[in-house]
Symmetry: D2
Subunit: 162 residues, 4 copies
């Protein structure tokens, strides 16, 4: 068996250049580590992270709120049009072993909260980083290293980090 490690990257639907560079580097580093990127499949942090992961040959899962696979950004390789609306936020937290949050508004906060409720490690940049229970980080390298370590600590066996 080679069960893949799923890492959720969540955050703002529109971001500035610095935020995009950060999210892209996170995506690239996750793909280089063999992890599968999970996100909401749309723009902003989601698109930048997918671009980074796809550029490094990684698989990228987009859990879309609507019913149309074509609404996914161009770097989503596995488009999942859930049709669940905002309940797809809960799905992102459910299926990811660990979450990395980059900025974001209330939608991101809901995903962080569900992740914490489920006992998943949540690594956070910028906004929401003061929330009790999250792991605050400053760089993409630090975020990915910490996320992978926390994921493996919480479940050491069977994960395929090729």
């Amino acid at each position: 068996m080679s069960r893949r490690l799923l890492v959720g990257v969540i955050g703002a639907g529109s971001i500035d250049v610095a935020g995009a560079a950060l999210a892209e580097e996170i995506g690239r580093r996750l793909a280089e580590s063999g992890a599968v990127l999970v996100c909401g499949g749309l723009g902003g942090v989601m698109a930048a992270a997918c671009r980074g992961a796809a550029g490094a040959g990684g698989e990228t899962i987009g859990l879309l709120p609507g019913s149309d696979a074509d609404s996914a950004n161009n770097d989503v390789s596995i488009a999942l049009p859930t049709g669940l609306g905002h309940a797809r936020n809960v799905m992102i937290a459910q299926v990811s072993r660990v979450l990395i949050a980059v900025e974001g508004e209330y939608g991101t906060l809901s995903e962080i909260a569900i992740g914490l409720k489920l006992g998943k490690p949540v690594v956070v940049f910028g906004r929401w980083a003061d929330l009790t229970g999250v792991h605050r980080v400053e760089t993409a390298a630090e975020a990915v290293e910490l996320a992978l370590r926390l994921a493996v600590e919480s479940r050491p066996a069977d994960l395929n980090l090729s």
Copy 2:
């Protein structure tokens, strides 16, 4: 037509005596206003609010995470065993016109965040009351009065507040 006004009451699954008295008074006041109480159907704030509403003859809806209607507290008149797990939190925010939060942990925070994301008024006691965008209150009377006013302002017609 007499469309009922649905008010969500969210909060901790276990509470102290003061919290229970507060939630019970909120439930009673909502029922006296003709509103239908929506909650997660289980214990703590949910059970206390239902007890208050049921005691005043109100209808109480419990959106349960599991598949068993019998898991609802005794004062839920309309038990809805969604089977959706944590995604039922999103449902509570979706179906309520306004939310009242009493303390609570990460599950409550996820409901507040989804409510704000959906543009619904959110009235908050205690924890999470410092979150940008919520309406902070101190008493049950104030909470119910404000919630009903915000609900009616956001949609004045057709609501049945008998």
Copy 3:
């Protein structure tokens, strides 16, 4: 406690005059029995059943696929805009103690199938009445009587059939 009995009425989104009369009579008889009508909240069988129930003073729950309570038909008293899309079909089967199906297409078939999967009694008119496991009926009186009997047999205590 007075837990209400929830009966789901499912079926075609557009129907002829005879179908509407049938669904309306089912709604009326359910309300007269003290049951709460659960449906998808839109047109056709749903609207006719709600009209019958509301005319008899009954409570009517509409589990809507979208996020807008105003999309419910005029006789839905408790509009629940789930935002879950087609997954709201599963919700209808989950929360109802028994289902009554009046004609309908593939959406109705999915609800019947989930109901049977969950072990719920399913009472069927017309199309899909030949499916193994359903109870075939011919009149509204027969449908409601059978549905209430099957609901009570499967769970005799606590139900409020005033």
Copy 4:
């Protein structure tokens, strides 16, 4: 961009030797075509199809009803513990471009019905093959060839059938 083609394989949770061989061959042929297998992630048809796909180096997605990734069968590479219960059946139909059904009971019927409701091609072996709107097939080769052709006809561009 290389958007992957997602093909859902649905069916009985327990099967005989002939059924397992059939499902395994379907999985193998899908993987050889470059498609990603989507299923419910558990036993029977799901496990056999995943075994076939994994043996041919394919990616396999398991949309699990519960919250535990470890409940997936050993050949699921991407385990998605939705926590949505039976609503995950709707997800399988939502995210797949085409469905292949192998035997199965009411759960499978619900997935076929949702697929047809969504206008997706549904290729069926054995039980439920007489349902209006499905494509009846007799062999694994025929099923996969037809499913891929129908998927491409319904959306010709961008699909990565390497």
